[in-house]
């Protein structure tokens, strides 16, 4: 079996901590004012990562960030081709996202289509001051002009490979691994 572990638990924690710092730094605008940050995780694991980032940010700058979830199922462009997906609930701050800095959080950035759907979903929810993108893994092969602002690890892959992200909250362990497709019988 040709599974290759690329991030262990400590690596994931380190990556998230670095991203949290970068988010804070980038949020200080040139005129010195900063806006509220809303971390919106894209289900399923993006939501878990957004919560972890939120916890780290809370240590660094209490009250600076809110955490929510943004389901993009209804905005996907591949609904007819894929088996039916069950949407997860979205949750956004009760006072909305207008004027805030939204950071979309996902586990793996790949074609960019999920992010495209998320941008459409966001525009139906309100008008943020800025939208940023954080991904634990960027594996390349973009099909749209989209790039991440904050990346845990750039991981060049071939399209036949699959990336598994496991998180303590959902899978009982923290791990990122690469599998070759032929092993996935």
């Amino acid at each position: 079996m040709t599974a290759r572990t690329v991030l262990q638990q400590a690596d994931i924690t380190r990556a998230l901590t670095r991203i949290a710092h970068e988010i804070l730094e980038s949020n200080a605008s040139h005129d010195g004012a900063s806006s509220r940050i809303v971390l919106l995780g894209i289900p399923t694991r993006g939501v878990l990562l957004a919560r972890r980032l939120g916890a780290i940010l809370e240590q660094l700058a209490p009250g600076a960030a809110e955490v929510g979830a943004l389901d993009v199922t209804m905005y996907r462009d591949d609904l007819a081709r894929q088996p039916t997906r069950t949407p997860s609930p979205s949750s956004v701050p009760s006072d909305g996202i207008d004027g805030k800095t939204v950071v979309l959080v996902d586990d793996v950035l790949y074609s960019g289509r999920t992010v495209r759907a998320a941008l459409d979903a966001l525009s139906d929810l309100g008008r943020p001051r800025a939208v940023r993108l954080a991904a634990l893994i960027d594996r390349g092969h973009r099909e749209l002009p989209i790039r991440a602002d904050f990346v845990g690890k750039n991981l060049p892959t071939s399209q036949t490979q699959r990336i598994y992200v496991k998180l303590l909250e959902s899978d009982g362990q923290d791990l990122v691994a690469v599998f070759d497709e032929e092993d996935q019988g």
Binding site: A80, P87, D124
Partner: protein
């Protein structure tokens, strides 16, 4: 989900899934832009062999909120009224590239026949077939009850232990049938009340209790009282002597309303005959969920349209 023909095709997980999805859809209605791009480029045909403005408008609103295109064929002013067969109409709309058909038909089983016939590939949603079923009505009623019981904590829940009394013309009611099976699936218990002539033959074999005395039934303090529409023509077919007697025996009048517990839910699938099966005071009381039913209908139909139209490509190979 390939089609929605009968609530009996839904197990508890599937039924709760639809209700949960409808919660998401209901949230959409509260937003500045109450529209999702989900079904952009897909076409839904409302095929109504029987007039029903409410159901048709509800499906139209649902499809439009999901950005689908809607074509409506209704009984009046189209070939549907000229005795064209279900098969011919179906093939005509299939030739137009329709992705889903919402079918209302006076014949029981029509949706099933359309889905089982090899005439079309489109998904079929039963919007009422004769005296058989009206699945989206059953779902929206269940959704309305669940919302009233669990509020914002509705997701994932059923209707366990809820006691529902359905009153009136059970025999001819597709709404009653869809409610009965779905409510059982979701864990509620159902009691039917009506004149013996309007209780179905063999009702003893159904998973319900039944009786003829409305006052007895109300004394049992049900959580939900659902009044069914009584159609005038039943009187002429000797199901009951006249409207006055029906109303006295089986109408939810002001006196009966006053005896209900304050949190008893009063429901009616509409359109109501005020003064016959339900008094105006009952229809407009704080207990009445009639308008919630209408609003929730759109959310349920959005959920159903989404479920039958997502993952639909490549079905030809199956």
């Amino acid at each position: 989900m390939r089609h929605l023909l009968s609530v009996r095709d839904l197990d508890r997980g599937a039924a709760v899934g639809i209700l949960d999805l409808a919660e998401d859809m209901a949230d959409v209605a509260t937003r500045a832009v109450p529209r999702l791009p989900t079904l952009r480029g897909r076409t839904v045909a409302n095929l109504f062999f029987e007039d029903s403005t409410r159901t048709r408008l509800s499906f139209e609103a649902a499809a439009k909120r999901l950005s689908a295109d809607v074509i409506t064929f209704s009984a009046k002013g189209s070939s549907v009224s000229k005795g064209e067969s279900l098969k011919d109409t179906a093939q005509t709309i299939a030739a137009m590239g329709i992705d889903a058909v919402v079918l209302r038909h006076p014949a029981s089983g029509a949706a099933r026949v359309l889905a089982d016939g090899q005439w079309i590939d489109a998904a079929v949603i039963n919007a009422g077939d004769g005296m058989h079923e009206h699945p989206t009505q059953g779902l929206l009623d269940a959704f309305t009850m669940r919302k009233a019981v669990h509020g914002t904590a509705s997701r994932g829940t059923g209707l366990d232990g809820l006691r529902v009394t359905i009153v009136g013309d059970i025999l001819h009611s597709r709404v009653a049938r869809s409610n009965i099976w779905l409510l059982k699936t979701l864990g509620a218990s159902v009691h039917l009340v009506g004149p013996e002539t309007l209780l179905p033959a063999g009702v003893g074999a159904w998973p319900v209790t039944s009786g003829t005395d409305l006052d007895d039934a109300l004394a049992g303090k049900p959580d939900v009282v659902m009044m069914l529409r009584v159609q005038g023509e039943r009187m002429h077919a000797a199901y009951f002597p006249n409207e006055r007697e029906y109303s006295r025996q089986w109408g939810l009048d002001d006196a009966r309303l006053a005896r209900l517990a304050p949190d008893t839910m009063v429901m009616h699938p509409g359109p109501m005959n005020r003064g016959l099966e339900i008094s105006s005071a009952a229809a407009d009381s704080a207990r009445s969920l009639v308008l919630d039913q209408v609003a929730n209908g759109v959310s349920i139909r959005m959920a159903v349209l989404y479920l039958v139209l997502s993952g639909s490509e490549g079905r030809g190979a199956v």
